[in-house]
């Protein structure tokens, strides 16, 4: 669409004028990125995977609204939190009235995989000012991270490469966001119309179960899951859903305790830690 550009008002110092200038600047910067051919390459490569993830986002929407959240809460959570497994994980905690810190601790633990990714992305993003780094980090999910670091095994060195890399990453991120939010909204509004008796909120539990299985890439991780599951059930009578926090602590502590005993004595650091299939590198 060709819209007539408003006259340049850089010397207008009123608050709305500056806000308008700022918004226009952001839109121009985005259009600049979107005109880069790699933006559309990133979007196209992401779209294939996004189609597979639609069922996932749809179910997250259904599970949120079926757990007793209002439409407003579910829509806001989807738009703001934008982290499927963390959303699914806090649904039962919210419904049980767990305290805020327990809910946030659970969300943080589920999101810890992003912490691993951020260590890798640091060298790619450090040239940006902090606000832009955080903005970009927030929109970079699991799949776009994997595609991006697969396509660019090394951080950009020149301005031209940086532009290309950012265009590719934003292409994937935009595609991911649009697909995710669209199907999440569909799930929220269609889910609200489906009968209570079907127990459709159970899709959320199943979705988390599937992610848990996919994370069980090593025997110790599977052990961590089993210990944690058993502890969470045994300690269920603890108040404030503290069983979740306690179970995580017990499982992680046990794994850290056992891990050195399982490593071959000569292998040192590289052993069972090097198996994360998603992370682009070993650490």
């Amino acid at each position: 669409m060709n819209m007539p550009l408003p006259p340049d008002q850089r010397d207008d110092l009123s608050a709305p004028g500056r806000l308008g200038n700022w918004v226009a600047g952001r839109i121009e910067a985005f259009a600049h990125t979107a005109r880069h051919p790699l933006f559309w390459v990133g979007a196209r490569e992401m779209s294939g995977i996004s189609v597979g993830l639609t069922a996932w986002s749809f179910m997250t929407g259904v599970a949120m609204v079926k757990s007793g959240m209002t439409l407003t809460e579910a829509v806001l959570m989807s738009l703001l939190v934008f982290a499927g497994s963390a959303q699914l994980a806090v649904i039962p905690l919210l419904a049980a009235g767990a305290p805020l810190w327990v809910i946030l601790a659970a969300a943080f633990c589920v999101n810890l995989r992003f912490v691993v990714f951020s260590l890798h992305l640091r060298e790619y993003f450090m040239f940006l000012p902090r606000a832009k780094r955080l903005w970009l980090g927030y929109f970079t999910g699991d799949v776009t991270y994997v595609l991006y670091t697969r396509r660019f095994p090394k951080p950009a060195e020149t301005e031209r490469q940086r532009r290309a890399q950012m265009a590719y990453l934003w292409g994937g991120n935009c595609c991911n966001w649009v697909f995710w939010q669209t199907f999440s909204m569909l799930g929220i509004f269609l889910g609200a119309a489906l009968p209570e008796r079907w127990g459709l909120e159970f899709t959320g539990t199943l979705a988390l179960l599937a992610v848990t299985c996919s994370l069980a890439a090593t025997r110790l991780r599977a052990f961590s899951a089993l210990v944690s599951a058993a502890a969470a059930v045994v300690l269920f009578s603890l108040p404030y859903r503290l069983n979740i926090v306690a179970a995580i602590a017990v499982a992680v502590a046990l794994c850290l305790f056992i891990e050195p005993k399982l490593q071959p004595p000569s292998g040192g650091r590289g052993g069972p830690r090097c198996v994360k299939p998603m992370a682009g590198r070993c650490w």
């Binding site: 069922a55 703001l80 988390l208």
Partner: protein
């Protein structure tokens, strides 16, 4: 349906902050820094532990106690989903397939047999 309450909105704001912090964790600060060794190793085991801790009570507990697991739609559905996932784990639709299989087991048991 109940009213939107401020507490849930607070949870949503807090979780948004968690999303930003975890995704940007190592590039929030300009300074180069590392986690202590035990924490770095713990990153391997904490996410799966958190997910397992959340779902296990939802799969086996009824009102806080373990009920009759053999007549529980959730247990059979969970077993079916996990079995499907490990059978087809290299398939690109393994995750979605596992959820579909789980629901295909869950819905008839829940709706027809009331398990």
């Amino acid at each position: 349906m109940r009213e939107t309450d401020g507490w849930t909105l607070l949870v949503i704001v807090g979780m948004t902050a968690i999303s930003v912090i975890t995704r940007s964790f190592f590039f929030i600060s300009e300074r180069e820094w590392r986690l202590p060794d035990w924490a770095q190793r713990g990153l391997q085991y904490a996410p799966i532990a958190a997910l397992a801790a959340v779902i296990a009570p939802d799969l086996v507990l009824t009102d806080g106690v373990i009920g009759n697991l053999l007549k529980d739609a959730r247990v059979w559905s969970g077993l079916a989903a996990a079995a499907f996932y490990f059978w087809r784990r290299h398939w690109s639709f393994a995750l979605v397939g596992a959820i579909a299989v789980g629901m295909a087991v869950f819905l008839p048991l829940r709706i027809l047999l009331n398990w």
